[in-house]
Amino acid sequence: MSFILSFEPLALEPREHAEAGGFVSFEGKVRNHAQGRSVILLEYEAYPEMATAQGNELVEEAMERFGLLDARVAHRLGTLNIGDTAVVVQAAAAHRREAFEACEWIMDQIKWRVPIWKRETYADGVSEWVHAGSAPAEPHSDQIRFERQMRLPQVGDVGQTNLQNARVLLVGVGGLAAGSLPPLVGAGIGAIGLVDADLVELSNLHRQTLFASSDAGRQKVERAAAFAKRLRPAIEVETHFEALSETNATRLVDSFDWVLDGTDSLDTKFLLNEVCRKLGKPLVTASVHQFEGQIMTILPDGPCLQCLFPEVPPDHCVGTCATSGVLGVVPGILGAMQANEVIKGILGLPTLDRQLALVDLLTLDVTRLERIFNPKCPICSGSERSSALEWDLQHLPTFDFDLIDIREIDEQPNLKRPHQRIPMTSCYEQTFVRPTVFVCATGRRSFRLAANLRAAGNRHVFSLLDGLCNPALK
């Protein structure tokens, strides 16, 4: 047993390990004040079976996470006086740093995960039960945490719930993730997955600001997970200390709703593009070079990275951060833009889909390019592309159909052909039995509407390419 509950004063003797270069023993004490009130007595109570099971589980997790030689925890139950030892955590490792960090990690985890409560008796005679640590956020504290963004009409209760139900995978935990992870966690994304096989290096730290200098040599995924947990303890974080490859990609991506590409390898970017398309997952891809970046949101029915570059280029011919250099703030900004795309996507707001944005941070120019769909794309030239293009009509159909202008009622000019006007939001509340062609100003809103209605099972809806600019309407 590595996790012991005891009603007796704690006495945990260190075990000897010849390979241990560091042994840390931490004691948590009963102090005489809590939140400004004077404490005279403390009582611990647990649900012992569950507390022991969870305690053992987290000690084992710590052994693996920090590569420890040994770890043990003893926790007091019953009545304690000021100065008594409430908990002892011991960790032995080859080097001192792992031992120190493991002790702190175990203490935090005990407070979050192990069902132990304490009753504090104050000098005024009042006593109160409190959870032994900072328990995962309760609903009312989330209300406070997210108040400022829930005030936005585009978020509200429903949007916030959608964010908290969302699962987002970050592939590559480097400079782009340093920009995307904090706002994603801050926004209340329910679960984050982290995939990276690298350790933190000193040369990363000018742009990978999730990490501290003392993290050098540690797993990026593990340190990024610690960052996320500090920012929002209630978040679920899954770490994968491995590189994305053809063998693991489907397994890693499958349980997530959105994927962020933060890798620095073209091979991985194109693999991710292919896997996300196959699994129908939206992907936000981005990359940086010196003072500029590219970003694109790839939806399951939109153009993909290989539409942009049909041939997968070898990494060495396009320059990397290591060979060409990069200003640290550049991936930070592009990463934050990726987070913005995901958050908007989850909230149902317009994203950068079907466009590539080129962001020049020397001049602050943003160039957005369209018409990415490419007949030479080996991924989209299959059935998915043709089905996407079949409902994105180049010409008005020859069969009998209804034409619906989905722009807001006050948008000008009016169509010259017979049509109905139903604003897009109202279209979602209708059933379209007859073949229907939607028109908007540019073809973008109508494409999205047709795609969403088709996803909801409506087979006879179409979008007119280029909207009002389509020659068929002239």
Binding site: G172, G174, G175, L176, D261, G262, T263, D264, S265, L266, K269, A286, S287, V288, H289, Q290, E292, G293, Q294, L308, F309, E311, P313, D315, C317, V318, G319, T320, C321, S324, V326, P331, L356, L358, D360, T367, R368, L369, E370, R371, I372, N374
Partner: protein, 80 residues
Amino acid sequence: MVRVNIRYFAVLRERRGLSEEQIETSAATIGECVNQLVVEHRLGLPVSLIRVAIGTDFADESTPVQEGMQLLLIPPVAGG
């Protein structure tokens, strides 16, 4: 000969040493035009790996070159 405006991005900007220039070209298509630039300035990427946009839209390399065209040369970018 026609005059076209060229904008370079990412590694092409780095290798060309400038962001934008006006050139005179006898190339018939935008693919040919890009190929001439790649050779002349040793841009280090085959034309098949460079995507070209005219104004705000990506275009096929067989598109004829026209006077006053604004061509954007976009290479793949790998850094993260």
